[in-house]
Symmetry: C2
Subunit: 293 residues, 2 copies
């Protein structure tokens, strides 16, 4: 009702978000209403703060349209936006609050493959043999520090040129640099791989252009992906990062957590190399995963 | 710097937006930095308020992707979202603050054609002859109420079935229900048309589905579009709305302003109808446009 007593739903800049929220009063899905009310109030707040010109608003529409057009079966440019502007990590944090000391989570990323090969402890996942040899080892334990038997470590990483096997079908062997390892009674794991390197996220689309315009680089620091799970425990989706990587403090997807950064030590020891079946010199990385019930 | 004095850019849920804003510190374009800071702070605030599950976040990504895929040369689904959630009207308001009494603005909409035919006062724009006859008339004046000579009224509207000519190429005559009229020394205009009807915005895409899920209808109340311009005056992009339209109080694009709602009067007068060259009975609508320098 307006001040003269007549009903009025006429547009009013000062209560623009209220008008839109009022129009959704008939929503039957309460959760959708709640989400859209938050989206609309913040969207109108952005517009009032920024005061875009009509040309700027059309540039925003164009950005969204080009981002949509970039999306295919093999490329998800909106997820790339979500990743590179910290939203994916925030969603991950909100959904995976862990007790102190438990292994922390980070983003899944787009390169996980659901059923990678089960491998034996000590196997190599580096099927093409490129890069510098790396031994990865450690234990999977519970909150009390006791080993977990039958834990699965689902592992994947990029090769020494920064590409995952699924990005280079026909160039890399299938299932290169990925596999699943299942712990025995001692909770221990170990496998052979190559030392990961930093690499850029796909940056030939509108999100890459936006990052450039914001003075940001497109790199992720070197890491190995893990999903560690065991019956009766919460699975943890995470990475191990290589300490001293130049992009550790500026990961384009904000995925780094201090507890996931690991020392990677170089060994020049012909005998030790022969014992673990790698060329000398080689690198090693150790990490203990702690799961919660 | 973290509390132990070591540099740390590790992800931290409580200051997630700060981390992303800090990453944009190298942006050379200050305006882009300002806009993206506002977008990121509000986007993270929405996520913290709503606490989406990972499934809900993927549903949002899917909505944006489908909205992008719906956009073509002829269809702009992101603008449809902007229109139907009040953002386009807000952008319009922010960019076109007018002194009290001046003709108010509303959205341009997607159906304007840049160079429609110049017509003579009294001409009909209803080239297919459908619908109920309507006489539209009035004056274009300045802030002091003096007539403006040489003002252009660029007019367009939907036909009696709710479609614009550009939506029905080959069905409606080209340039049906559109044209430009130029005022003489008296500032007066008049033309013949058909009484507009309410119609739905395109609602077969993701935005239409969202409106349905929010309990909203897709209709715009009956209106005629105008761009009124004159040398030395600010052009005004606006509509005239038909009073008593059932959707006047729930325009899906929030375009209605009280000052733009016009009485439409029916006349049953064979002689008057003959004088203005329409069939009896007919309707009339009068409005005075006030431009500012």
């Amino acid at each position: 009702m307006s001040s003269d007593g007549t009903t009025s739903f006429a547009f009013d800049e000062s209560r623009s978000a209220d008008l839109v929220v009022a129009a959704m009063a008939g929503a039957k899905n309460e959760r959708l209403h709640q989400v859209m009310e938050s989206v609309i109030r913040h969207l109108h707040a952005v517009v009032k703060e920024v005061k875009p010109t009509e040309e700027e608003w059309m540039a925003a529409i164009k950005f969204l349209t080009e981002t949509g057009h970039m999306c295919t079966e093999r490329r998800q440019e909106f997820i790339l936006f979500s990743d590179t502007f910290g939203v994916s990590m925030l969603i991950d944090a909100i959904n995976h609050h862990k007790p102190s000391g438990a292994t922390e989570t980070t983003v899944l990323g787009p390169f996980h493959v659901a059923s990678s090969p089960i491998r034996q402890m000590g196997d190599t996942i580096n099927l093409e043999g490129k890069g510098e040899p790396l031994i990865v080892s450690g234990r999977v334990v519970d909150e009390a520090g006791k080993p977990i038997e039958g834990a699965t470590l689902d592992v994947w990483q990029a090769n020494s040129e920064g590409y995952y096997d699924v990005q280079q079908k026909g160039i890399q062997p299938d299932m290169n640099l990925r596999g699943r390892f299942i712990t025995g009674a001692d909770g221990r794991y170990w496998f052979r791989s190559s030392k990961p390197l930093f690499y850029p996220i796909p940056h030939d689309g509108p999100v890459g252009a936006l990052l450039r315009n914001l003075g940001r680089h497109p790199y992720r620091p070197a890491h190995i992906h893990f999903i560690v799970s065991a019956p009766g425990y919460q699975a943890v989706v995470t990475h191990l990062f290589v300490k001293d990587d130049p992009y550790l403090e500026s990961d384009v997807v904000f995925g780094v957590k201090d507890s996931l950064v690991c020392e990677v030590t170089q060994h020049d020891d012909v005998k030790a190399a022969a014992e673990v079946g790698v060329e000398n010199p080689f690198w090693s990385l150790q990490h203990e995963f702690k799961l919660v019930r």
